[in-house]
Every structure is written in C-alpha cells, then in structure tokens.
Symmetry: C3
Subunit: 130 residues, 3 copies
C-alpha cells in the first residue's frame, strides 16, 4: 500500500537509487508492519536547481546536492514510536549501503485511509474496518 | 479541484497518456461528483527503473512495465461506495480505450479540505462549509 | 517542514523558477508561521502535454501553458484566514516578480502531523504536542 515518491539528483547512480528503494521497502516490512511484496515506488530524477534546501541548514542539520527526498503515502495508524524507528532505520541503512550522509535523508509521511487504495483491477482491495 | 498526478513509463504513447487523462476526468464527473471543467492533471514520464513494483506481484495481482500510477488529491467526503465505483470506472475505461491491463492501473487517493485549494488569482474559491 | 512540489512547463526560465521558489518560501515565513531556513522544494519540469488544465477554464478563471502547480505538504493547524492570505501573497508576488498571470498560479495544500517529518539524520525533529 505505501506509495513512496523518492526524489534524487540526476547524478545519483542507478545502484544507489536501487539501494534506496530496497532500504525503504525493508524498513516498511521490518518496522512498519507493511505486508511482504507491498513495494510501490516512484523515482524522480532532478537537475541541480530542482532540489531546493536551505544553504544555511535547518535545525542544526546541513545539506548537500546529494539530498534525497522520500515522501510516503500510507494507511494511518502507525504510532509515533514506529515512525521514529522507521526514520532511523532508513537513514542508517542508506548511509551504510551507499555512503550517503544521514543528514541528506529527508522523509515526510502522509496518512490516508484504507479505502484510499486500488492496487489494480479496479478493485478496492482493503475494505475499511468497522 | 482534484489534482491527479499520473506517473507513466516513458514508452507510453502520447495517445495513451491523453486517453488516461480523459478517463480519470470522466470518472470524476460521472461518479465522484466533481464539477465540469475541474480537470487538473500532472503527468510524469519515467525511465524503466523509476516505476517500481513487486516482481512477485501483490494480493494475487501481477504488474508489467506498463504500470500506471494515479495519485489523486481531492476534497474529503466521498463514500467508500463512490470510491469503489471510481476505481472500477477508471480501470475498465483505460483498458477498453488503450488496451492496458487492468492489473496495471494503480490508484491512491488523498483527502484534504475545502480550504486547501486556490485555483488561481490568489483566491480561496471554495469557502469551507460551516 | 513544508515540502513544496512545484510543477512548471519546461519552457519556464531558470530565473522564473528560482523566483517562484523564493516567493513560496517568503510567503511561508511572512504569513504562515514557518520557521526561517525551513525551505524544502522540489521542482518538476514538464513537456507541453504533461500539465493539463481545462481549456474552457474553471470558475471563471482561464489558464495558459505557463500554468504553475504548487502542492505543499505541511503541518496542520493554519487557519482558513491564514491560508487565504498565503494564496494571495504567493499569486501577487509571483506576478509582480515574474510577470506570470495570477490566474496561472494554482495551489493545493496537504495537512499532516508533527510526527510525519524527518529533516535528516533519521530523527523525528518535531515531537508531537500533547
């Protein structure tokens, strides 16, 4: 169910892009109770002036042109503690596998409802719970 | 009011892209009570590694590189039954008009509020209801 | 915190794109109580058939191929009055600085929660309020 939009600089290697996608999927499975094989991701590659971050940094964090934006839409219900662990797992594993700086891993979540998804065939596969 | 982001493979023909946009708009009008002429759509074309789906399939559905992601932001209030009919209308009509597989039509909805829109001129055209 | 996706035609000049980003950031700071340096924006450039608007116009507004779509995800809590002032500030300032028509400035907001953000380092910088 989650749909992850991952926005990266055009200079990011295909191997790194694939690793980021793997990490996001694995963090969903291992931490956020997402079902196996529920992997839907859209990658956007961008020219240099298309990924904008504050040159002065924000909240003590600094950014580089390698910044990765990850925006995930998923069903509401994950706790604050789960979301915290999810952010940490993604930043740690992207750093370990690709060498990208953890400060450059930027994540935003959008909670929606169970009935807001059709995974194909024109059907609503997740019936809302009573 | 709805904003539809439609993400397709770069190999999708311009005719097919246009037909998908037509279908999404017509399903909004015919089923989801969207006003006439309220058609705002953003198309994103993608390289092969930029549209990611599970190679094993999901929930019994299988996907191909022709997968179409449709993510719609609109005003909350549609019922579960309307959303079901909306999904079905889109998948059926895209299949009929373009030959794309219904399993490759993937849809996600994001509900927002009436005051979350400016259609131009710097105005909030939809006043919130009391 | 806000993430602004700004979708523009490929023919838009780099100077205009930069000015739009400046305006959106300044309206956040001046009107919507966004902290200084909290500037995160993703620009998408599009071919002619990728930005779709009603040729008949909508609600008395008309559009041209210069249309700019601005979709902002941010923390819920801004009032209707703030949102109104925010739309006006953006359309007015983009018009003044770039000459773009105010009718071509299209804005949508998505409200999410404080815990839905990681600005880097795998941390949840905004703890939810009790």
């Amino acid at each position: 169910m989650p749909l992850a939009r991952i926005d990266v600089a055009a200079h990011t290697s295909a191997e790194t892009v694939a690793a980021i996608g793997d990490v996001v999927y694995e963090a969903m499975i291992n931490i956020a109770n997402v079902p196996e094989h529920d992997r839907f991701q859209i990658i956007h590659r961008h020219a240099k002036d298309e990924l904008v971050y504050p040159s002065a940094g924000y909240l003590g964090l600094t950014y580089t042109p390698d910044i990765i934006f990850i925006q995930i839409t998923w069903v509401a219900g994950r706790t604050v503690e789960i979301k915290k662990a999810f952010y940490k797992a993604i930043a740690d594993a992207i750093h370990t596998r690709t060498g990208l700086r953890k400060e450059d891993i930027w994540i935003n979540l959008i909670d929606v409802k169970r009935e807001d998804w059709s995974f194909g065939n024109g059907e609503m596969q997740y019936e809302p719970k009573e």
